[in-house]
Assembly symmetry: C2
Homo-oligomer: 325 residues x 2
Amino acid sequence: MRELGEFALIDRINAGREQAAHVLLGPGDDAALVAAPDGRFVVSTDMLVEGRHFRLDWSSPRDIGRKAIAQNAADIVAMGARPTAFVVALGCPGETEVAVVEGIADGMWAEAGRAGGSIAGGDLVHSAQLVISVTAFGDLGGQAAITRSGATVGDIVAVAGELGWSGAGLAVLSSSADSSDPAFAHALAAHRVPQPPYAAVVDVFGAEGPSALTDISDGLLADLGHLATASGVAIEVHSAALADAELAALAQRLDVDAGQWILAGGEEHAFVGTWPASTSLPPGWRPIGVVRAGSGVTVDGAAPTGGTGWESFRGADAPSTGDRR
Amino acid sequence: MRELGEFALIDRINAGREQAAHVLLGPGDDAALVAAPDGRFVVSTDMLVEGRHFRLDWSSPRDIGRKAIAQNAADIVAMGARPTAFVVALGCPGETEVAVVEGIADGMWAEAGRAGGSIAGGDLVHSAQLVISVTAFGDLGGQAAITRSGATVGDIVAVAGELGWSGAGLAVLSSSADSSDPAFAHALAAHRVPQPPYAAVVDVFGAEGPSALTDISDGLLADLGHLATASGVAIEVHSAALADAELAALAQRLDVDAGQWILAGGEEHAFVGTWPASTSLPPGWRPIGVVRAGSGVTVDGAAPTGGTGWESFRGADAPSTGDRR
C-alpha cells in the first residue's frame, strides 16, 4: 500500500462503482452530497478495530467490509429508516496489502447495495492498526423515528432475525474445534457476516409499526435493558420462545450453554421491538416476551444470571467483537 | 478509562450539552436525527491518528478536539454549505485518562459551536492507538454545491485565511527551538488549532459566489492542483501576493524557507477559490493568481520545486499531519 500511495488507491477502489440514486455527488471533491427526501436524515457511526472487532485470520477482507456496513445499516433500520448512503474512513498500516483494502471496499459496496445505499465518500489514512469507521444515513419517508422509548405496558416483545448464531461462531473460532467441520458453517457465516433482516422493518413502513425498536448489538438482554430503561418499563422474556434445537445441539458439541449465545451474544444485528398487544405481528417477527410495569429485564420471571452483553473497556480483553452507538 | 467503562464515559461527555437547532434527536438511541432543510445534505469524513495527525505532547486534548472538527467543518464550508452537525467515533487505549477524552470532547463541542453545529452522536471503542473519526454535515440553503470543477479561463484565484503559519508551527515543534518563546506563539496556535475562516464563505451565500472552491488541507499547490485537474485548466500563482514579512522573519530564525510553508503546508484549512474576473472579491479574500488554459500549477510562470503537499503512505513517516477526503 505504501508503494501505491493514497490517491492512487482511492482511485482504484472507487473505479467502476455505481452510486445509488440518493448520492447526488460522490467521491472526489471536498465533500459528498446526499439526498434527504423528507428534509431530515438518520445518522449513525461505528468504529471497528482490528483484533477487537474483527480478525484478519478469522474473516476475509470482504466479510469485514460487509460486517462494518451491516452493523451501521442495522442502526439506521432500527430507527425505522431506509438506508440511503454511507461514508467510510479507513486507517491502515503502510504494509497492508492493497488486496486487503480492495476486499474490504468490495464487501462494503456489496452490503451497502443489499441495504439499499452506496458509499458516497471516504478517507484513507496511515495508522498502526487497521481501523474502519463507518457512518450510515437513512431516510424516514415522512414517518416518525421509532426510538427505544415508546414501549408501553402490555406490549408484545418480538424479534426479527436469528439469535445466538454469531455467538456460536465466535465460540467455534475461539475454541480448539475444527472450524472446517461443515456442522459449524452456519455459525461461522453468521459471525463473519451478520445478516440483519432489513426487510422485516423497512417493508412494514406505513403499516402498523412497533412502538419501540432497536437492533441487537450488545446482546438481547443488554439491548432490551436499554429499551426498558428508555421506555420506563420492565420486560419479561420467555426463554421457551427463544429455544433453538439446532443451536442447542451445536452448543452441546462444544460443551457450553446455548442460552448465553442467545441472551448475551451481540453482533447478530437482529431487531427487537415492542408492539401493541392488539397487533398481528408482520411477517418475519416472532413474540418472545411482554412489557410489564416496573424496570429491568427478567427471563422466565427471574433476573438473568451470567453476562448480559458487551461493553467496551470493561471486562475481558478477549478478541471478541461487538459495538454500540 | 477502563475503570469507568464505555457507557458511563459516554454519559459523562454528553452531560449538559446543548444541541444545535438542526439536531432533532441526539445521542442515546440507535441513531441520531438531523434536519436537512433543503432536502439534501453535504457530508465529509476524516480520520485523525495519534502520532500521525496529532501528538498529545504537542497539543492539548482540547486543541486536538477542535482541530478534528475544524478540518471537517472546512470541508463542508468548501462546498458552499453551512455546517449543521457532526458525529464522532473515538478509539482509545484502555489506559487513556478520562480527562483526555473529556478534553477532546470539550474541544469538539467548542469548535462545532464556532462552525454553527453540534455533536449529534458518536461511538467510543477500545483501540491500540488514539484514533478520531469525524463526519460532518452541512446544508446548502437551496444553492448549488460549489465544487472544484467550475473554474474557467480568466478567473481570479483568491485565498481567504492565513497561509504558512501552521507549517511554521510544525517546524518549531519539530526543531530544537524553544517552543515557549513568545515569537513562536502565533505559529504554534495556528498549528494546534486551525481557524478556517468559515464566515468568509458562508456569509457570501446568495451573493456572487466563487466558480470553484476548496479548502487547503494538502497544501496550497497540491489543492490548487486538484482544482486545476477537476476544472481542466491551468493555474498561475503569483508569489508576490503570498509574501508575509512576519512569517519570513520567523523562517529566517529557523534558517528555513517560508515559501515551503506557504506553498506546501497543509492543515491550515484556509479556503482557495476562483472568481470571474469581473467580480469584486468579497471581504476576507485576496487575489493570488489567475486561471489559464492548459493544465497544472505554476508559480511565477515556472513549475514549483520541492514538496507540493501531503499524501498518506507515500514518503515521510515523520510525525506530520494533514489529511484529505
